[in-house]
């Protein structure tokens, strides 16, 4: 039994979601091989080789993998996958994009966004926006699994795996990258942050989000948002926490001016401590908040920031 974990990287470091997937793979048992597809990614390959528990790192270094296009990435993985009992990756935008393609090409089911490993073939995942947990047994020979990063610890360093090149997979010219528009931020990545300060419709404008920026900076945290705040154009879409945005589980989640719709709770209710600041005492967010403060955020947030 050997697991192939497909790594997400930025050419030097390995993403936290991949480290979480490696932890899930360790719970499955057996050897772990990491596949790294990229261009000029030898730095990331050595980082991957240093992760504890990894037996081998397979590197596909070619211009075709400079950007993770689902078609070519899936074709590469399918070429290798038949030698493995499990194929796993993080349930990130990249993982969610290419992995179901791998499963279909292998003619096997995929188990999406697992939160626990019960047995090598049995996994727990949430359904209905996190309102139910399903324990699912995969009946196919190859288990194709994506892993919820917030549900597993990140695998640490201390390994010394062998690095082995693998040939490029088939090309897929029908899909091409035109451009990328990435959000620049000095703050920690939302899914990896220990503290998250999130704003909703109650903020009223994009300018007012600076109140949250200041609080997040004091706490060394990231800034998130509800769908309402994203739809209103206050912040970019990649700030969104929820069923359709990012799933987070920080040590401290401060929800400011967020009512707490089912879809938002799906993305943050596994946070260790939830604080809600809202002027509506009846807002559903107070049902999940450990500490609730019924107050006008425009007074409470600056006061909180100043007092820290």
């Amino acid at each position: 039994m050997t697991t192939l974990v497909i790594a997400e990287h930025d050419n030097t470091s390995i993403k936290g979601a991949t480290r979480a997937a490696i932890t899930a793979a360790l719970q499955v048992g057996g050897d772990i091989h990491v596949l790294l597809a990229g261009h000029q990614c030898s730095g990331a390959a050595s980082t991957a080789a240093g992760i504890a528990g990894v037996a081998k790192v397979l590197v596909a270094d070619a211009p075709a993998y400079a950007h993770p296009l689902a078609e070519s990435l899936a074709a590469l993985v399918v070429n290798l996958a038949r030698d493995y009992s499990h194929v796993m990756t993080g349930a990130t935008a990249v993982g969610k994009n290419f992995m179901p393609r791998v499963a279909a090409q292998l003619d096997v089911a995929q188990i999406s966004d697992i939160t626990a490993v019960e047995a090598p073939d049995t996994f727990v995942r949430t359904i209905y926006a996190g309102n139910a947990l399903a324990t699912v047994k995969a009946l196919d020979a190859i288990k194709v699994v994506t892993v919820r990063g917030s549900a597993f610890e990140a695998a640490g360093d201390g390994g010394a795996a062998a690095i082995e090149p693998v040939p490029e997979g088939p090309a897929f010219p029908a899909a091409r990258l035109v451009r990328e528009e990435l959000t620049k931020s000095e703050r920690p990545e939302l899914t990896a942050a220990r503290v998250i300060v999130s704003g909703g419709r109650g903020l009223g404008s994009g300018e007012n989000f600076h109140l949250l920026d200041k609080l997040a900076d004091k706490l060394g945290g990231a800034v998130g948002a509800s769908r309402a705040a994203v739809d209103a154009g206050y912040v970019p879409n990649d700030y969104q926490v929820g069923q359709t945005g990012k799933i987070v589980a920080p040590d401290l989640y401060i929800a400011v001016g967020i009512s707490g719709a089912i879809q938002h709770l799906a993305g943050m209710k596994d946070s260790k401590l939830i604080v809600a600041i809202n002027k509506d005492a009846e807002a559903p967010i107070f049902e999940v908040a450990d500490y609730g403060l019924v107050a006008d955020l425009f007074q409470a947030v600056p006061e909180l920031t100043a007092a820290l």
Binding site: T135, K272, L273
Partner: protein, 249 residues
């Protein structure tokens, strides 16, 4: 060109699913069902492309029990021209749905297939990608902007760090995100008009797809409930709790 849109009948998004006491599944008896919100956006996008003169016909397809016909009527009230119901009482997994949709796509020969990026019940997020793989077509998932230019479609996608734009040669599969558009309201005249539109029913067994289960749900349970919290009087009390009780700052 023809556009195919796949729509799913799911629990209404405003409702909270309840787990059955025997732990076998969630309880959907007597629960309001609606079109999956992402699929509504997919229909709207196809209809807008038709209104822009890019698409000539919009065909909605749904797979499942006979009641899925209601969901197809909604799609037609939103502007789809006709509908296909692949009828089956079998428990369907995304791979089954993708294979059945491939069979429909092989018959209908669309240039674009639109789907929601995920269904709000199983939250799997697999079907569009699986369909693209089976058809050997390019895919663009999590679309927030779609524009067709000749033989290609340009799609802006929502990714973890922001946005990226892909160009795909047609035919292609696109799964849509919430910010792609705001679906129109269904009006009474459009509902009346939709009643005259045609739903072709295909029994799933005529499509040559094995629906044998590939996964087995052993148990469905309630997530651990969070212990009820407390309300604090002011910011000073909040800071005191965070520092001295929870010790997170």
């Amino acid at each position: 060109m023809k556009a195919l849109v796949a729509v799913k009948r799911v629990i209404d998004y405003n409702l909270k699913a309840r787990v059955k006491s025997d732990g076998s599944d969630v309880d959907l008896a007597g629960v309001k069902m609606s079109m999956n919100p992402f699929d509504e956006i997919a229909v709207e996008e196809a209809v807008r492309l038709k209104e822009a003169g890019v698409v000539t016909e919009v065909v909605a397809v749904s797979i499942g029990v006979a009641a899925c016909a209601e969901t197809l009527r909604t799609a037609m009230a939103l502007g789809a021209d006709r509908a296909v119901l692949v009828e089956t009482a079998a428990e369907l997994e995304p791979l089954h749905v993708a294979k059945l949709l491939k069979a429909v796509a092989d018959k209908e020969q669309p240039q674009l297939v639109f789907l929601g990026k995920q269904a709000i019940d199983d939250d799997a997020g697999q079907t569009g990608q699986m369909l693209a793989a089976l058809l050997r077509w390019p895919q663009a998932t999590f679309a927030s902007k779609v524009s067709v230019n000749g033989g290609a479609v340009e799609v802006t996608r929502e990714v973890d760090g922001g946005l990226e734009t892909l160009a795909l040669d047609l035919p292609a599969v696109v799964t849509v995100d919430l910010r792609l558009n705001s679906p129109r309201y269904v009006t009474l005249p459009s509902i009346m008009k939709a009643k005259k539109k045609v739903i072709d029913t295909l029994p799933a067994e005529t499509l040559g797809v094995s629906l044998a289960p590939r996964t087995q749900v052993l148990k469905v349970s309630e997530p651990k409930a969070r212990a009820g919290g407390i309300k604090v009087a002011d910011v000073a009390a909040l800071i005191d709790k965070l520092k001295n009780e929870a010790k997170v700052i």
